[in-house]
């Protein structure tokens, strides 16, 4: 499965790439919303992990533009937020507040990917 990790914090992005990669997925990283949109234009991922506050293009704006792309309205998004309070209006399947439990994040990712496959079938 293809997973896109959108996170500007390099050490965190790298750790998540390793964690999901070691589960056998094909994982790519993007440092902001703009780069993420470019990746999605090349290949629509099966799951997106999305940070919210990023330079250039933040997670909210990415999510709005991504949902308008053809074939992207049902792709599951997991938001990784620094705070629940300032979540705002976002169309996501799950929200993890930082600092989150890595096992729980991996489980949620697996569950959403499984549901996605079921949905397509």
């Amino acid at each position: 499965m293809n997973i896109l990790i959108v996170e500007d914090e390099a050490p965190l992005r790298k750790t998540l790439l390793n964690a999901f990669g070691s589960e056998g997925h094909h994982v790519e990283g993007a440092v902001n919303g703009l780069e993420a949109l470019a990746r999605c234009a090349e290949r629509i991922p099966d799951l997106i992990l999305l940070d919210l506050q990023m330079p250039e293009m933040d997670g909210w704006q990415f999510q709005r533009e991504f949902r308008c792309m053809r074939g992207c309205s049902d792709v599951p998004i997991i938001v990784m937020s620094a705070t629940h309070l300032a979540l705002g209006n976002i169309d996501a399947q799950a929200v993890f507040e930082k600092p989150f439990d890595l096992d729980a994040l991996l489980d949620a990712g697996a569950a959403l990917l499984a549901a996605g496959i079921h949905h397509v079938a």
Binding site: D8, E9, P11, L12, T15, L16, N18, A19, S22, Q53, M54, P55, M80, A82, T83, K98, P99, F100, D101, L102, D103
Partner: protein, 562 residues
């Protein structure tokens, strides 16, 4: 001054032969009268002023000015972005044909019978050697009133006038007076508090750099003489009606002879920002009120200490989460891999280094927050000792240079910049400013630090050629959490500059930033008194008395000259 332009050319022909006979000018008033005839009247100007410039305090002093033959109060203002300041900075005369289209906006103007603003201006620097001594300027309400021919004529006259001023300055009496004025200006310009001085009619006659920043008039031309209580100056960026309502009664109380009057203005247009004004009367020899000194403080957005603490907590809880998240996920991933037996010792080592780095980052943020909360509560303790600022700066530069190959850091020192300061705190300020200069010059390039030692103060300028500041940003960069919304990290939240400002202010100094605009680089400057300014010492030396006397003398001069 006549408004007819018909005799223009014949006047100029006549004036070509008129050169100031230096021996005849015993003082600035005589020079002013000569300039009035040779320049203002000859070119049929509507208004005319002569200003002197004090390089040490970077202050412009309008010595005398006329509009339609009426003498208006002179006064002082710090170098800004207006036309006068531009001419001083560039040392080049400026001819403006249509001010409304080609020159900086004017926010404050004279009460005059003519509606609108002057459209034509001719501003010429008075340069002697490599020093700018001042400026002469003439204005006319009609557009296209002056041409290059007039500019040349004005420059010729300015050269003679500059020579006269240079000669007058070298004379004993002038030097003594000017030294006192220069001292006063230094104190005013160094003060972190915003100071405005008004005459009896409430007209603005002087303001310092902090006032210019606080009242947001940094980027516009400013004409002194505007009554502060006039409601019509709605173009002033702050809430003019609220200010007028506050200042009117305050000045009335001062005129009644109240030794100290205080008032607060709540500016709803500025997000409920609150300014506090303290007014002290200026008295002449007969104890009559001649004007007032207003100290203005920005006491924030109508929030108490609780609000400030909430700000700190909000940013902290948000920003501290990032390194904590990195540490936690890395540790958890490591554990998973160790359990699965899929990890090499090299990888364990690399991950642990990363975890340690993140804890270091947490520690840095925590000390930043502690600094801020200490500053919020007014706890800045300085351990003063004899410090060589040149050596301290050289060390800071070498630390930052070690982190970059794309930038060339240079140090330029004039004089011996030593003083009684807290070296650890100043090192913190220098490191912050130099790191910022590098950080905001992503293309690389030179970063230069200039240190100038003056008798009583030392100035430091950190100049980069980086991304600069957009118009209007400059006055906010020292605010707490200024960048919090746009910047993600605590390190970039603007807290660093806020702390720098607090540390410089604790030393009795002032910090500011100038930028020609986005992409034009920035210059961060601070000025430090070489010795602590202690209020008790000052009282013993009766310096405050001198200040008031000096001011009084100057007001007196202005009035006598009318």
């Amino acid at each position: 001054m006549s408004t007819a332009r018909s005799a223009h050319d014949s006047h100029l022909l006549h004036n070509r032969d008129v050169q100031p006979n230096e021996a005849t000018f015993s003082d600035v008033d005589a020079l002013f009268e000569f300039l009035r005839g040779a320049l203002a009247d000859a070119l049929h100007a509507d208004s005319f002023f002569l200003a002197l410039y004090d390089e040490l305090s970077r202050t412009v002093e309008v010595v005398r000015q006329l509009e339609f033959d009426t003498e208006l109060p002179g006064g002082t203002f710090p170098l800004g972005q207006g036309i006068t300041s531009e001419v001083i900075r560039t040392r080049r005369a400026r001819l403006v044909r249509r001010w409304s289209q080609e020159a900086p906006r004017v926010q404050v103007q004279y009460l005059s019978k003519t509606p609108g603003l002057p459209e034509s201006a001719l501003t010429v620097p008075l340069v002697a050697g490599d020093e700018v001594l001042g400026v002469i300027a003439i204005h006319k309400y009609a557009p296209d009133a002056f041409d290059e021919h007039d500019l040349l004529q004005a420059e010729r006259i300015a050269a003679s006038a500059a020579a006269t001023i240079a000669r007058l300055r070298s004379e004993h009496a002038w030097t003594r007076l000017q030294t006192r004025v220069s001292e006063l200006q230094s104190i005013l310009s160094t003060m972190a508090d915003a100071v405005l001085i008004v005459d009896y009619d409430g007209r603005l006659i002087a303001l310092n750099h902090a006032a210019r920043e606080l009242l947001c008039v940094q980027e516009v031309s400013l004409v002194l003489g505007q009554p502060l209580v006039r409601r019509a100056w709605g173009s002033w960026p702050l809430g003019a009606p609220e200010l007028a309502e506050t200042l009117g009664p305050l000045l009335a109380r001062v005129k009644e002879g109240k030794p100290l009057a205080e008032a607060q203005a709540r500016l709803e247009s500025q997000g409920d920002r609150v300014l506090s004004f303290t007014a002290t009367p200026l008295l002449d020899r007969h104890r009559d009120v001649t004007g007032a000194v207003l100290v203005v403080r920005d006491i924030g957005h109508n929030r108490g200490a609780e609000g400030a603490a909430r700000d700190v907590l909000a940013v902290a809880s948000h920003e501290l989460r990032t390194p904590v998240t990195v540490i936690r996920t890395q540790a958890e991933l490591l554990r998973r891999m160790i359990r699965a037996g899929t990890v090499t010792s090299d990888q364990i080592d690399a991950d642990l280094v990363s975890i340690v780095n993140q804890t270091q980052r947490l520690a840095t943020m925590l000390s930043l927050l502690l600094d801020v909360s200490g500053i919020e509560e007014g706890r800045v303790h300085l351990a003063r000792r004899h410090v060589d600022l040149a050596a301290l700066t050289a060390a800071a530069i070498s630390d930052v240079q070690a982190t970059t190959e794309r930038h060339t850091l240079g140090l330029h020192v004039s004089g011996k910049p030593t003083g009684y300061w807290d070296d650890r705190r100043l090192q913190q300020v220098l490191a912050n400013l130099i790191t910022n200069a590098v950080k905001y010059s992503p293309e690389g390039g030179p970063v230069d630090v200039f240190i100038d030692a003056h008798p009583d103060v030392v100035t430091v300028r950190v100049k980069d050629r980086g991304i600069g500041l957009a118009c209007g940003q400059a006055k906010h960069v020292f605010d707490r959490f200024y960048r919090a919304r746009s910047a993600r990290r605590l390190e970039g939240s603007g807290l660093g500059l806020h702390i720098c400002k607090s540390l410089i202010v604790a030393h009795g100094g002032r910090i500011w930033v100038e930028s020609e605009g986005a992409g034009q680089g920035s210059v961060f400057s601070f000025i430090l008194p070489r010795r602590p300014i202690d209020t008790h010492v000052r009282r013993d030396c009766s310096v405050p008395g001198d200040i008031i006397d000096a001011q009084k003398d100057r007001c007196g001069e202005n009035q006598q000259s009318k």
